[in-house]
């Protein structure tokens, strides 16, 4: 392995993120408490800077340090996705963080550190680097999930996340070691030739089963989804938003890279198990979302179902599938964070996450209700908001491969999802507001976050062409089949 200085230049966004995280930590310690509000500004400014910096790397297609790290359009796309999510969450989290008495700087530092972990996960070119990224992300999230340590629910969520996170890491590691054992290399790109030599040995297939399970935990696919509702409910809502969106996308990024780049030869073997996982994820996720009365739990199950839809792109095993997957992931970022951002505001104001307390929101705070409604419609995939286009593409991708039944399951379950999203819409628009209900005031930074989500959901629904082109090109350059 040769280490070239030029390789570091291509990792500038990661390095800058690391510096930002450490910098925020230090600033948080140094700045007096009454001026801590500036930290959120610093975080957003730093993240936006890195976001802009990332534009320099659009046309890179490089393998760094002998394949350990890869900077290709796929990596760059996911960097954008994570940074976008982090920016919106940082904006929406400001009100919540201001209510904290201490550790305000640390909150943002951890947020940025988790982002770094995700970026490494997406760019990792070998299994060990991938694992390091995963752990950086997971351990950071453990702290964030249990951030309100005096609140029992938050602490419980933290403990559950530790145990299940550790277990999933162990499972994944077991799978990685089996794959390593059979290929003799940890470099993802080098595996294909070795696998053609060794063939599909049963133990290697077992390794793949473990990998599916390990990644399944991260994207919260059924039956590894049980952690998500409990933890989503218990964690501070900004953390939940970030966890539901970015952490899932990061797990997905690694999932797709390992399975499409390292294991394409074994596709006939792993496809069965992935298809089963995808189908039950879509079915169970949507069904369980129906009886939920807490909006965070409802969104948690809906995000389980969304993970299932996104996996359609992997199942399709084509560049169209990858493109659709990327496209849906980024739209999911806007729609889901938008919905969670409204939940944050409502919770801060009314102290409740119950759907029945959203009754009449359209009359007291029409803007919040509109954002929530459009984001939910996008999640449900109703035209003309953005989710329709990407979901349509995901269905097309599997139908193209002859898996019509799977698309059907998806379509049927989309219908079910309309039902539970409509329950929230019904409460907001047809319900009568509580007598003491007042218009909810929304701080400037949260408003920016809401507007970003709203505009994205509408704009990409009405005019998806540029983003769609982009996602499809990335998909094609990543997996040109």
């Amino acid at each position: 392995m040769q280490i070239q200085l030029a390789d570091f230049a291509l990792m500038m966004p990661e390095i800058a993120t690391a510096i930002l995280a450490i910098g925020l930590l230090i600033v948080g310690l140094v700045v007096p408490r009454e001026q801590a509000k500036g930290i959120s500004f610093l975080t957003v400014a730093g993240l936006v800077g890195i976001w802009l910096l990332n534009f320099l790397y659009w046309h890179e297609n490089a393998s760094l340090f002998g394949g350990i790290y890869i900077v290709d359009p796929y990596t760059v796309f996911f960097r954008f996705l994570f940074l976008t999510a982090a920016i919106i969450v940082a904006l929406a989290a400001k009100d919540y963080v201001n209510t904290l008495e201490r550790n305000q700087g640390e909150f943002y530092a951890l947020l940025v550190a988790a982002t770094l972990g995700m970026m490494i996960l997406a760019g990792a070119g070998d299994l060990v680097t991938l694992y390091i990224g995963l752990e950086l992300m997971t351990i950071t999230f453990v702290i964030l999930v249990g951030y309100q340590k005096k609140e029992a629910k938050s602490s419980e969520a933290g403990v559950k996340y530790v145990i299940l996170g550790a277990m999933s890491s162990a499972v994944l590691l077991y799978g990685l070691s089996l794959v390593f054992g059979f290929t003799g290399t940890t470099i993802i790109a080098d595996m294909v030739p070795r696998l053609t030599l060794s063939g599909a040995s049963p133990l290697l297939l077992l390794g793949i089963v473990f990998l599916v399970a390990g990644f399944g935990f991260k994207v919260s696919a059924v039956p590894f989804h049980m952690w998500s509702p409990d933890i989503y409910e218990g964690a501070p809502t900004p953390v939940t938003a970030f966890l539901a969106v970015a952490s899932k996308a990061a797990g997905l990024a690694a999932f797709v890279r390992v399975f499409l780049i390292a294991l394409p030869e074994l596709q006939p073997y792993w496809i069965t198990i992935v298809v089963v996982l995808t189908a039950i994820t879509v079915v169970v996720g949507n069904l369980i979302a129906i009886p939920q009365s807490n909006i965070k739990r409802m969104l948690a199950f809906s995000s389980v179902a969304q993970a299932g839809y996104i996996l359609f792109g992997l199942v399709a095993f084509s560049s169209l599938g990858v493109g659709a997957l990327l496209f849906h992931s980024i739209l999911y970022v806007f729609a889901n964070i938008g919905a969670f951002a409204v939940a944050i505001v409502v919770k801060n104001s009314t102290g409740s996450d119950e759907i029945k307390d959203y009754s009449g929101l359209a009359q007291t705070s029409p803007f919040l209700a509109a954002v929530m409604l459009l984001c939910l419609l996008s999640l449900a995939g109703i035209p003309p908001v953005a989710g329709f286009v990407s979901k349509f593409y995901l269905f097309m991708a599997v139908i193209e491969k002859g898996m019509v039944w799977l698309a059907f399951v998806g379509i049927m379950m989309s219908m079910v999802s309309v039902y539970y999203y409509l329950i929230v819409a019904k409460a907001m628009y047809l319900g009568t507001p509580n007598r003491e209900a007042k218009p909810i005031s929304v701080s400037a930074s949260t408003q920016i976050a809401l507007v970003i989500c709203l505009v994205a959901v509408i704009f990409f629904g009405v005019y998806p062409t540029p983003l769609l082109d982009l996602a499809m090109n990335v998909g094609y350059s990543f997996f040109p089949f």
Binding site: K160, I163, L164, M167, L178, G181, F182, G184, S198, A200, S201, P202, L203, L205, L206, V209, F210, V212, A213, P223, F224, M226, W227, D230, Y269, I273, V284, L287, I288, A289, I290, P291, Q292, I382, P383, P384, F388, V389, F392, F395, M396, I399, E400, V404, A407, F408, I411, M412, S414, M415, V418, Y419, L422, K426, L430, P464, T465, L468, D469, M472
Partner: protein, 776 residues
């Protein structure tokens, strides 16, 4: 320009918030200008389109998805566009009189305009995906309009029901469109029609057909998906007249007509479409007879008339298509007027119950005449437009393109359905307006006709008379261009009142005669219908049950699974592993059990293993925390003995230290935790847990053994270290050499990390102590 015209209703919505406060109740007049203008605008296209030249405009939208916003205005689209805008004008004008000051007028007119725009989008677009988008928009606006009086539970129920059923159909239709795309590679309707012969021959034809028909049938309320339409009658009457009779429910018919050249003409199409249509015709008219609510009456009547038109599209002959186009026009006029009349009756008397109404002709004579004309037209009485199209329907049913049982069954069904249609049309007129008032307390609020609401139905009724006498008026400009657009080639048929003495005339005579007899003996017929169709089992019950069932399943899944206990979650996760890992091991032949590469197992090892098993069981079954912890550390201690036995003293030592430290930590931490709780778990569940736990353990063991037995790389890495540790590292203890020489940098890194961690712990402890000192 054309695009702006189609989007005009959407644009007009933005003006409403400014107009409503100024004009108040009069705002309806301003709104009515939109459809009036559009009607005139579309009418301007008649000469060009009737000349056989469709208007085609293309706009790029999402090229990757094959979505272009192309507009395709041929005779068929034009007929619908004129109906939508023309009736739109009448309905909006009618609503001005119908809706009171206190209603939420802004919402009402916005929804109506949104609906109008979506409906225009459905019929004018040349792209299936755009059609789908507008199609769903009509469902959404219909949902909002049905739920307009949302404080009423029954309105909300009806709104949700119609939404769920039509959205379900819409999604099925979308799947069908995707199939069409897979066959033809295009979403453009004209491209698909151009490849019609390939479509019909393709193996995806049948699934595509069924899915698209699901969309059409749910939207057009065909049996058995008709159940949403009667509940949709909870909407204000103008809405019922417009959406649920004249336009939206005809979107399904439009889809059938539009895709006839691509999908029609096959036996599958013929039997599915005309079979369902005729069944709906008979069932709808049969059910209408027993209704007591006037609007429910009209709802079932609409269902049955839609069935008639569907059947005509199913026949797919030139004559049938022309008859369908003509009947779509006629139905829109007479049914729209009938709804408005019922709205007037409801508005003036406060009830729609047919059992308590009667003799209204004395109070509102003109209204009674309008009702009579339009109902007679629907019944197919000569000299009215409905008669002409019904004659054509009978003629078409006698000239079917398919041989077999349908040759006599379908005409028979046509006659049967028409008999009941005749009967309920008579009931509608004579029971409500004729006879004497049955309930003296129910009478109109004032004497005379309410002209503010009556003039639209009067115009519509006169259309029925004029077209009935002179069908040639619309033949060339509307009906035949629409039929040609449906057929895909010019259609030449002659519409006329008098065709001479022939079989269709005989059929009409039978309908009128038997219908009249049935009407005279209506008590007997109604009680017969009630006997056949009772409340205990019908399709509505099925719909309600399936919603309840869905909720129950979801709740059951949640209760079973999302208990909040990690323990229960692990059961599911381990079950998955047992199935997937075990399945792979067995199915793919992964078991590789050999004892060749294992160390010999002696009595000493067996004894140690037994102690470990005992210790592990002790952890599970011992009652107190302390005993469980000690039992666990006992397991660790035995592992140490294993290392000793395998002559690895350094490992044994390390393990001993780790075990000791962790036991101490355990004890320290556990002292702060509550006592172990005794939880009562059902025996069966315990058994399941035991089986899953046992299977997981067994699997891991098998996996270990198999993994050890599979040596893939030769020479194995252990040999390398054994060979090279002395020459390269200069040490006999291989483990030590590996740690400090071969992986020296790693070790250094680890030491650094541990040192930093130790420093951190130290500073934390110091901090805590310092605080305490301060407190003291």
């Amino acid at each position: 320009m054309l695009l702006i015209a189609i989007l005009l209703p959407f644009l007009a919505v933005f003006l409403l918030p400014f107009l409503v406060p100024v004009l108040q109740r009069k705002v309806g007049w301003a709104v009515a200008l939109v459809p009036l203008f559009l009607f005139a605008y579309f009418a301007g296209f008649i000469p060009q389109v009737a000349g056989g030249e469709p208007v085609i405009v293309n706009y790029q939208w999402v090229p990757q998805m094959g979505i272009d916003f192309s507009i395709y205005l041929d005779g068929l689209a034009l007929l619908f566009a004129l109906l939508i805008t023309g009736l739109g004008f009448f309905v909006v004008s009618y609503a001005v009189g119908y809706l009171g000051e206190k209603e939420n007028l802004g919402n009402f007119y916005s929804f109506i305009l949104l609906f109008m725009g979506s409906m225009l989008g459905v019929v004018t677009t040349g792209n299936l995906l755009v059609l789908y988008i507008f199609w769903e928009l009509t469902s959404v606006t219909s949902f909002l309009l049905i739920g307009f009086w949302f404080h009423r539970e029954i309105s909300r129920y009806g709104a949700l029901k119609s939404m769920l059923i039509t959205v379900f159909g819409g999604l099925a239709m979308l799947a069908g469109f995707i199939f069409l795309y897979l066959i033809t590679g295009s979403f453009n309707i004209r491209d698909i029609i151009a490849q019609g012969s390939d479509v019909v021959a393709h193996s995806y034809y049948l699934p595509a057909l069924i899915l698209i028909l699901l969309g059409a049938f749910t939207k057009s309320a065909q049996f058995p998906f008709h159940i949403w339409l009667p509940n949709a009658m909870e909407a204000p009457t103008p809405v019922s007249a417009y959406l649920h009779s004249a336009t939206m429910v005809k979107a399904g018919l439009y889809l059938l007509a539009r895709l006839t050249p691509a999908l029609g003409g096959t036996p599958e199409w013929f039997y599915l479409v005309s079979g369902v249509g005729l069944l709906t015709l008979c069932y709808g008219s049969f059910m209408a007879v027993r209704q007591t609510d006037l609007k429910a009456f009209l709802a079932f009547s609409t269902i049955s008339q839609l069935g008639l038109i569907t059947a005509l599209f199913g026949f797919s002959t030139k004559l049938a298509v022309a008859a369908a186009a003509f009947h779509i026009f006629n139905h829109a006029t007479f049914k729209g007027a009938l709804f408005m009349v019922v709205g007037i009756v409801d508005h003036e008397t406060g009830t729609r119950d047919i059992r308590s109404l009667g003799g209204l002709r004395e109070y509102m004579p003109i209204t009674a005449i309008v009702a009579g004309v339009t109902a007679f037209s629907m019944a197919g009485i000569p000299l009215l437009s409905g008669f002409v199209s019904k004659e054509m329907f009978f003629t078409a049913s006698l000239a079917l393109p398919m041989a077999g049982v349908a040759q006599w069954l379908f005409p028979a069904m046509a006659v049967l359905g028409s008999i009941f249609t005749f009967m309920y049309s008579m009931m509608l007129v004579f029971n409500v307006f004729g006879g004497k008032s049955k309930d003296p307390s129910i009478r109109p609020h004032h004497q005379g006709d309410n002209w503010s609401m009556l003039w639209p139905p009067v115009i519509l009724a006169s259309v029925n008379i004029i077209i009935g006498l002179f069908p040639g008026l619309v033949e060339k400009i509307l009906v035949l261009p629409a039929a040609s657009g449906t057929w895909g080639a010019p259609v030449v048929e002659h519409l006329a009142l008098w065709h001479g003495f022939n079989t269709p005339l005989l059929m009409s005579a039978i309908v009128i005669l038997v219908g009249f007899l049935f009407f005279r003996g209506q008590q007997a017929v109604v009680s017969f219908v009630e006997g056949v169709q009772n409340h205990r089992f019908n399709l509505n019950v099925l719909y309600d049950k399936s919603l309840v069932w869905l909720n129950d399943v979801a709740t059951w899944l949640t209760v079973k699974q999302m208990t909040g206990f990690l323990r229960d979650y692990l059961v599911f996760i381990f079950l998955w592993f047992a199935l997937s890992v075990g399945g792979t091991l067995i199915l793919k032949g992964g078991l590789n059990l050999t004892t060749l590469d294992l160390s010999p197992v002696g009595p000493y090892e067996i004894a140690l293993a037994l102690i470990i098993v005992g210790g592990a069981l002790g952890v599970v079954f011992l009652p107190t925390k302390l005993a469980a912890i000690l039992s666990l550390s006992g397991v660790g201690a035995v592992v140490v003995l294993f290392w000793v036995n395998l002559r690895a003293p350094d490992l044994a030592l390390t393990q001993l230290i780790v075990e000791t430290v962790s036991t101490i930590l355990f004890l320290l931490a556990f002292a702060h935790l509550p006592e172990l709780k005794k939880e009562v778990v059902a025996k069966s569940q315990k058994l399941v847990n035991m089986i899953i736990a046992g299977a997981s353990g067994l699997l891991i063991t098998l996996l270990m053994v198999s993994g050890n037995a599979t040596g893939l790389f030769d020479p194995i890495i252990a040999d390398y270290y054994l060979r090279e540790s002395l020459p390269l590292g200069g040490g006999h203890n291989v483990v030590n050499v590996v740690l400090v020489d071969f992986r020296g940098i790693d070790t250094m890194g680890e030491i650094t990390v541990i040192s930093i961690a130790a420093l951190a712990v130290y500073s934390l402890v110091k901090l805590r102590l310092g605080k305490r000192g301060n407190a003291e």
